[in-house]
Amino acid sequence: MDKKIAMVDDDTDLLNIYKPVLEKAGYIIKTAFDSSEGLKLYKEFKPDVIFVDLSMEHFDSGFVLCHRIKSLPEAKKSKVIIMTSAGHETGIRFSTDTEEEKNWIKADDYLEKPISPRDLVQYLNEKIFKEK
């Protein structure tokens, strides 16, 4: 069965870039522009992996979206991966440096932007779906 990937990012260019590449690699991909659309998409589409941009609508919503998804009962089956171009923590919640933050957010992995399309495909193939 084809793997389902969801991607939530407010930068439409990034969705433009990753969508055709992941499709070509054999994944089914759907996209959303913000966290409320993202949550809706997750519930309807039930993806295996959802990529969430950290800094939509002023930095916090990526975390909030991740937390909300992880609070759903069906979320056990899917992985939430946070993508971020944020630097080190400077008071604003850019990163997940502390254990406390990690426990609250419960993201499965963190990727730092920029991520080349090639690397993203490789990441899915070799890290996420390899064992399956």
């Binding site: 407010d10 439409t12 990034l14 990753y18 913000d34 400077t90 604003i92 920029p114 080349s116 399309p117």
Partner: protein, 501 residues
């Protein structure tokens, strides 16, 4: 040691005696004044202090003892020699008791007189020298006392905390700033051991200097004091060395750097956000270019063309962002050289509308300008152009196709007020307060495809603030916004209004 050229007064009613003494003493280089009566003697003797007074005991008007008393009253250290033809033990005793230096009976030999004067001047020298030393010492003591209290006042008035500790760890000196910064409420007196009440970090600094025996030059360290919370102190501890290079003690100077730390954090947050905003367009450009270069999606020339076009757009937005960042840095530097000139508002607005000509026609916007042609402010032209660029850019970019932009300029009591009204997307109530935050951009389904740096209004506000003006926004979501810029009007406008008939 003696005075070489003495100043001598002779008080004697007998002319031969007066002139005799004068002649003998003047030969030796002394200056001799004479008077022929007791009354004049007192007058002259008190007016100036002489080195030696020769006083005749028996004078027709006033007794010599009276003259002696008056002079001694005025100058207790004066050297008075009593001259008399009627020598008696009684007068000798009496005048000596009154403070006379010597008693010389008439007649006397010149030699006798010279020896007497020689000794008297010797004595006089010691008296004057002692007096000089006394005065100097008094003056010095006064200076020292004055200097100490002045230093004390200065040290006590310092915001910085100062603590001096000797090798035994006892407080030698500290000021109120020290107690305040370290939040020490207990009473400390000089000579009391203080190491134990100091924050650990500071105590360690001091101990390190002591254990280095002078080999450690200075230790500078940030110390966080809690409580009171959030107080960050820069502690600078240096050794106090004696003349032989031995370690006498340490001086710790404490400075409250809490405010600096706060600024530091804000600054690094800004840098972090800027880096983040710079990375976003780069991520897109890099992604697009990789697809084009690798031909990842196969033979799709049109698609790749569109990718290149988007890359170009994002690169342009990146340049805009960098320019905005530079503008902000420039505005924040606070040492901007502004050339204040009379600026015509209407002319500048027309200039900016021309700048956005293409964007306006692309969206088929209708622009109305209603500004008094005489409306002026005193400002730097570049500042105003930058300000209007930012606001008109928003009115154009966030407008709906076939929308309107109405720009009106009016002068009210204190300000020139320029309104930029658009029929654009509007701003949600909850987002209006955040409009002027760095990098804030209203994000919703309508704004998604509008590029912007999130710094435009930050810049606009900084410019307006620099002229003691203000910027306000009224907006209704999905209906449109009005940005109002208030700038202090050119002084002459005021003048013209008051004086116009």
């Amino acid at each position: 040691m003696k005075i070489e050229n003495g100043k001598i007064l002779v008080v004697d009613d007998e002319k031969g005696m007066r002139e005799g003494i004068r002649r003998i003493l003047e030969i030796q280089g002394h200056k001799v004044d004479t008077t022929d009566s007791g009354a004049l003697g007192i007058q002259k003797g008190i007016a100036t202090e002489y080195d030696i007074y020769f006083i005749d005991l028996k004078m027709p008007d006033i007794e010599g003892t009276q003259v002696l008393r008056e002079i001694k009253l005025m100058y207790p250290e004066a050297i008075c020699v009593i001259v008399t033809a009627y020598a008696s033990i009684d007068t000798a005793v009496e005048t000596t008791r009154m403070g006379a230096y010597q008693y010389i009976p008439k007649p006397f030999e010149p030699d006798e007189l010279q020896i007497l004067v020689h000794r008297a001047l010797e004595r006089r020298w010691y008296i004057l020298e002692a007096r000089r030393l006394r005065e100097e010492q008094a003056k010095h003591l006064l200076e020292v006392a004055h200097e100490q209290s002045r230093m004390r006042t200065i040290i006590n008035a310092l915001d910085d905390g100062i603590l001096i500790i000797n090798q035994e760890g006892q407080a030698v000196l500290f000021n109120p700033g020290f107690l305040k910064l370290l939040d020490i409420n207990q009473e400390i007196s000089i000579g009391e051991p203080v190491l134990e009440i100091l924050p650990t970090a500071l105590r360690d600094q001091i101990k390190e200097i002591f254990s280095g025996k002078g080999s450690v030059n200075a230790i500078k360290q940030e110390i966080t004091i809690h409580p009171p919370a959030k107080l960050v102190v820069m502690a600078n501890t240096t050794p106090v060395m004696g003349k032989k290079g031995e370690l006498l003690g340490v001086v710790s100077v404490l400075r409250d750097i809490s405010e600096l730390k706060k600024i530091d954090i804000i600054r690094s947050q800004f840098v972090d956000m800027a880096a983040h905003e710079l990375k976003s367009p780069l991520t897109a450009v890099q992604g697009y270019l990789e697809l084009v270069v690798d031909k990842t999606l196969g033979d799709e020339p049109d698609l790749y063309d569109s990718y290149l076009k988007r890359s170009l757009d994002r690169t342009k937005s990146l340049v805009n962002l960098i320019n905005d960042l530079l503008n902000i840095t420039r505005l924040e530097a606070g040492k901007v050289r502004r050339e204040l000139n009379r600026q015509n508002i209407k002319e500048l607005i027309i200039d900016r509308l021309n700048f956005f000509k293409n964007d306006i026609s692309e969206r088929a916007l209708k622009v109305n300008v209603d500004i008094d042609s005489n409306l002026c402010v005193d400002a730097d032209r570049d500042d105003l152009l930058r300000l209007f660029t930012q606001i008109i850019a928003n009115a154009v970019r966030y407008n709906k196709p076939n929308g309107q932009v109405n720009i009106t300029g009016r002068q009210n009591t204190h300000y020139v007020k320029i309104d930029f009204q658009d029929t654009g997307l509007g701003i949600k109530k909850e987002e209006q307060d955040r409009l002027f935050e760095d990098f804030f951009r209203a994000k919703n389904e309508f704004t998604r495809n509008i590029t912007g740096t999130g710094l435009g209004l930050t810049i606009a506000k900084k410019i307006v603030d620099a002229y003691a003006g203000k910027i306000k926004v009224e907006s209704e979501y999905q209906k449109g916004s009005t940005f109002s810029v208030y700038l202090p009007f050119a002084k002459q406008n005021n003048f013209t209004i008051k004086n116009s008939p």
